[in-house]
Symmetry: C2
Subunit: 425 residues, 2 copies
């Protein structure tokens, strides 16, 4: 095979392997560092971000100058200003202040033969983050990885490369100040996809890969990965307005879930309305969202909602609009809602609005998604809002983490066994 690989690709492979080998060596040092030393590094990183604000903003201005072709939403994610840089530093300080995870004894059991068996929390090792556009991921991911004792390989998108370089340099300044190896946080210099493919193959050096961005990027990573991947492709989140819903509370939740930030994965995409309440609810929904949200309904929703409701097609039930568009379907009670979600859902977040506690409990039990809610906006499906602290990603696959994942998701446990000479008979 070797001779058929083009020169450029071979070189990518070598660069990426070098980065990963340095990360692996640094990971051992970070894992051995004390909690005080890792906390000091995080504080030093926050200070370095603050101190280097002018450099970071200048780098970001270069990215923005090159970003004219990008969508407005992407340009907004990319843009930094003084307040946003200050927020990045503040987020790192909050991670520093969170409780220590490593060495935590999760379980102790004395076995009948006298062995003491403990489960002790340890880091994963080397975490690779693959992401697009958002420079905040650079510092958030670095801080969460260091908090949990891991090294971190960052591979951001080409559109943010200048900003990411400046932010990674600040992170490495902080590491050096705390006498931790700077290679504990490295930015992959290449922004082409081949470099990603090389990176996610390195299962001897990398313990976990977390892709964040568009579905295309995530599918590309999943296809090429030999390293374990934690991911979600998309968030097709549902609200189900049950027959026994408080209609005003339902309107408030639907409005918030759809319109408070339509471009994020925990925004509402499909509204399910119980047939029993639809004649009363759908007209008030149309009035509530008029002029702000495009509605696409099934036949019943259209007949109840009037001419502003456009016709939904089969694709609408699968759609993650990330926009001010809402699919509306009338379903036959709780069973109808559960079957719709089972068929079209993405295992992200679903919420039932009801005053009927038995219905709520059945929905919470039977809906298979990573976050299930009653009488709350889907927008709360977020590590910070659910009490995990800062979020490194959201998983809709059920291995290791399911749902929002914070620093604890970047750790595992080992078995520690203390004996007095026990042998096995």
């Amino acid at each position: 095979m070797t001779q058929s690989i083009p020169r450029q690709e071979l070189s990518n492979a070598q660069i990426v392997r070098g980065v990963a080998e340095a990360a692996r060596a640094a990971a051992r040092m970070v894992a051995k560092a004390s909690a005080a030393q890792r906390t000091a590094a995080l504080v030093a990183i926050a200070d370095a971000i603050d101190r280097n604000t002018p450099t970071i903003l200048a780098a970001n201005a270069r990215d923005m100058a090159a970003a004219h072709g990008l969508a407005t939403a992407m340009q907004d994610r990319l843009r930094l200003d003084k307040a946003r840089v200050a927020a990045l530093a503040r987020a790192v300080r909050e991670i520093a202040a969170a409780p220590e995870l490593l060495g935590r004894i999760e379980k102790t059991e004395a076995r009948p033969n006298g062995l003491e068996v403990q489960r002790v929390r340890i880091p994963l090792g080397v975490v690779a983050m693959i992401y697009e556009a958002r420079p905040n991921v650079t510092t958030d991911a670095a801080a969460l990885c260091l908090k949990s004792g891991n090294a971190c390989i960052l591979r951001g998108g080409s559109e943010a490369i200048e900003s990411n370089r400046a932010l990674a340099a600040a992170v490495r300044e902080g590491l050096a100040a705390a006498k931790l190896p700077v290679d504990a946080v490295q930015l992959v210099p290449m922004t082409d996809r081949d470099a990603i493919a090389e990176l996610v193959k390195l299962d001897d050096l990398i313990d976990l890969c977390i892709p964040r961005g568009g579905e295309g990027l995530i599918r590309y990573v999943a296809e090429h990965a030999r390293v374990p991947v934690i991911k979600h492709y998309k968030g097709v989140c549902h609200v189900f307005v049950h027959a026994a819903a408080d209609p005003l509370l339902a309107l408030r939740i639907v409005d918030n879930a759809k319109t408070s930030r339509p471009g994020v994965c925990n925004a509402l995409e499909t509204l399910l309305v119980d047939r029993a309440i639809a004649p009363a609810f759908i007209p008030s929904l149309v009035a509530q969202l008029a002029g702000r949200v495009e509605l696409r309904g099934d036949d019943t929703a259209r007949s109840l909602g009037g001419p502003t409701v456009r016709a939904a097609t089969e694709e609408d039930w699968y759609a993650e609009y990330l926009d001010l568009i809402l699919a509306v379907r009338v379903v036959d009670g709780l069973d109808g809602a559960i079957s719709h979600i089972e068929r079209y859902g993405s295992n992200h977040t679903e919420s039932i609005v009801t005053t009927d506690q038995a219905a709520a409990e059945r929905f919470l039990r039977e809906v298979d998604s990573s976050t299930v809610m009653v009488n709350a906006s889907t927008r709360f499906a977020d590590g910070g809002e659910l009490g995990l602290g800062a979020e490194i990603g959201i998983s809709t696959t059920r291995l290791h983490a399911y749902g929002p994942m914070g620093a604890e998701g970047l750790t595992t446990t080992k078995f520690v066994v203390r004996g007095t000479g026990q042998v096995r008979t």
Copy 2:
């Protein structure tokens, strides 16, 4: 692509997909079943194994008749007799009697906005077991999957196909008796490797794959998998006899770890001896294992151990002998032992023998393996011995599970959020 796939392979793909689709549908029913119903199914399965003992033994006799070419150790794993079949049924009853996992609330937190956030234990969904020779995996895996609310796809080796068919039939009899879908446990009819490749690609239908067997099988699965895989390639387990070891206790542990069952993954493969204790310890080691274990040592070990110690090569430090052979290396104290394990170890199990508590604690903290021990035989690295109940596998990768894994490893948690109309500002 389609037209270039040979007819036979296409058919394998279709069969395997059919099995997985049926498993997915059955998994939903099993997840919804009550604890009482799943327990009743497990008891009915144990009864069916007992009742069908003659059929199972006749099937096993057909496998044994075809097994003449296999190694003795493999023939021993394959062979069933009345006592072994009774033990299979007993293992299922023990799993039935273990505490219920599903619905367990792992955490409850009230958020400042009044949301109540819980983490609730749920099944993974569909688990694929890929294994060789051992018919006991058929009933153990089926029982552990049902206990944890999962459906299970079994793909055993060709050498055990008759035994596996008979055992799977007994399992399905038990499921039917408890009115659970029989497709919750299915045996893949094909035993060729292509069928494995097809199976482990189905990431839309299968949540986890656990390969158990030789390193070749496990690497094949890891290479072809799109489904998450939990695995260990091998167990190169170490005992380190520290300068402050009690020598008699060390001999007892080494003897047990090496000789009590040399063919299993938690058996000792490399003994590390502290240079400070080597002159006293190595002659007694040679005397202890004389005529029972072949020793392969480095130069120091050979000069201290005399002519029966053969010369070890670099490959011996990587070797998983699974036989009565022991590699012996003299190392410079705790640091030397830790570096050797870091370089040659397999992240399975390592044990230090010492009376020096500070040395013990440093070893337990710094050695990166999934199970670390002090003053105990490596043979205790086993789900049952460490208090997990029956074991479904051992993981030496750090995602989801690290070390021995029992029924709880076949579950995850979801976020359950109860609100009173909260929206996000």
